[in-house]
Amino acid sequence: MGEVSRFWRESVHRYRLVAHKCGNCMKVYFPPRDVCPICHRESIGKMSEEQLSGKGEIESFSVVHDVPSPFTRQRPYILAIIKLDEGPSITAQIVDCDPGEVEIGKRVSTVFRKIAQQGESGIIEYGYKFVLD
């Protein structure tokens, strides 16, 4: 299903947390966007790369028990929506802690980790996860 090229294509943004910033309204977008949904055509050609700090706070989370096939070895895992300090919210796992320690509003930072494995001998994908500060 074209997985290798699909995952390779997004790797810069996933490995280094590179966002896009609208040169018109200065809003930061992650995942990156080529058009700002506020400024529309005024933003075309004005979206520039912006390095994120990888710091933010937990907006909400779930302990996921029913997991898709690439994640069977991580069951259960904590999935959260995290509001980054630069503005955008993203979906990612929180690791290296007990589910009981996770709370809405707690501060978190990114770490670089293995995300999932496609099948027993399939490709391994890497990207960001978060740990509690």
Partner: protein
């Protein structure tokens, strides 16, 4: 130039039983529902001028694309050479396909349109199914990191429950109501009644959501025939009028939206549909809403307009019952009638057609004049709302 816009009427409806139908294939299900609709309408299939097929996942679950051709071929109308087109809008495919039929009739282009929705979900199993159904999310930025439809609904639920002091019991009541209504629907996937305790103590799927907060993996098909005023007069038929149709989109991923518990697509589509029908929310006799997860039942009650934000909990104990102020999901809803993605939204029209003709048996909503039907894509990226019946 004088433009004559035709009203659109549902003149027949049919569906298969919803459930884990191991012995039936994608095409068999679709044909069964289509034939029932034709039989129910008492028309000839040669009158059908266009077919809209609603389906979400046949490409990745069944390895079958080109669904329009498949449906027209095995419905026996290949030699009629009428257009047959698949409408894909994730879990809102059903509502989106009916809207195409509505527009096609309303524009005057066609007098008789068939809409057939089908999903054959049990051809894959367990964790693989979950990987495939997660394609209704943003694959690269939600599912890639472990996002599933249930996990995203659960994240929404936790924040909503915290901000508005809503307990799990209020969520469970959505599922209890669905199961109670489904116990009176012979076509429902699950016909067992459940207690609030059973719902709250069921297996955790994605905390705080349990198994009984989640719609099941269902096979099924549903079909309706939409006709112009001309067609029903010429053939002396009766129909249920489609009063209005509206749809609205939102960001694909939950993390991009203004609020993680605000379903803006539902809010906008509902306001548009009501206004086009010249109706107020208080005029709605009953609603079929897209509660793929119990939390969405609460959020939709609010965003469709039946309650203020955070206040749906006040409706779930009594008002949403069959004899309540605003009956919710007389069919059994997505939790208990079932959620065969492409068929789900079309199935809502089958229910409304029966209800508004007074033929819903034990689950009949007494005195129902009209219905609001809400079909939602993914976690809220799209909503289609129709008003049917009499304003």
């Amino acid at each position: 130039m004088v433009t004559v816009l035709s009203d659109a009427y549902i003149i027949g409806a049919g569906e298969t039983k919803f459930g884990e139908l191991w012995e039936k294939s994608l095409r068999e299900l679709a044909v069964e529902a289509g034939l029932r609709a034709v039989e129910n309408a008492g028309i000839y299939s040669r009158d059908v001028e266009v077919l809209y097929g609603s389906n979400s996942l046949a490409g990745i679950i069944n390895g079958q694309e080109n669904i329009g051709a498949l449906l027209s071929d095995f419905s026996g109308i290949a030699e009629n050479h009428i257009p047959a087109i698949r409408i894909e809008a994730s879990t809102a495919s059903g509502g989106a396909a009916v809207r195409q039929a509505y527009l096609a009739v309303k524009s005057g282009e066609y007098d008789l349109v068939m809409v057939g929705g089908v999903e054959k979900m049990t051809d894959v199993y367990g964790s693989e199914t979950l990987d495939l159904t997660s394609s209704v999310l943003d694959r690269e930025w939600e599912a890639f990191f472990g996002g599933t439809p249930a996990a995203l609904a659960a994240i929404t639920a936790r924040k909503y429950m915290a901000d508005f002091k809503v307990d799990k019991e209020a969520l469970a009541m959505i599922s209890v109501n669905d199961h109670l209504n489904a116990s009176k629907n012979p076509n429902a996937h699950y016909r067992n009644k459940i207690t609030v305790e059973q719902a709250m103590n069921s297996t955790p799927v994605a905390e705080p959501l349990n198994l009984m907060d989640c719609s099941p993996i269902t096979d099924g098909a549903a079909a309706i025939l939409v006709a112009s005023e001309n067609y029903i007069k010429k053939n002396r038929l009766e129909g249920v009028r489609i009063l209005s149709s509206a749809d609205a989109q939102d960001y694909l991923a939950v993390h991009s939206r203004k609020s993680i518990y605000g379903l803006d697509s539902a809010k906008i589509a509902s306001q548009k549909a009501l206004s086009k029908a010249g109706m107020k929310i208080g005029d709605v006799s009953f609603v079929e809403l897209h509660d793929s997860y119990s939390i969405y039942g609460l959020l939709e009650l609010e965003d469709l307009g039946f309650a203020e934000k955070g206040k749906a909990k006040d409706l779930v104990y009594n008002e949403i019952k069959l004899d309540g102020r605003i009956p919710v999901n007389p069919s059994g809803g997505l939790k208990a009638k079932g959620n065969p993605f492409g068929a789900t939204g079309v199935g809502q029209f089958v229910e409304a057609y029966m209800q508004l003709n007074g033929k819903a048996g034990e689950r009949q909503v007494k005195g129902a004049k009209n219905a609001m039907l809400h079909s939602m894509g993914g976690t809220g990226s799209m909503s289609v709302v129709h008003m049917v019946g009499d304003a």
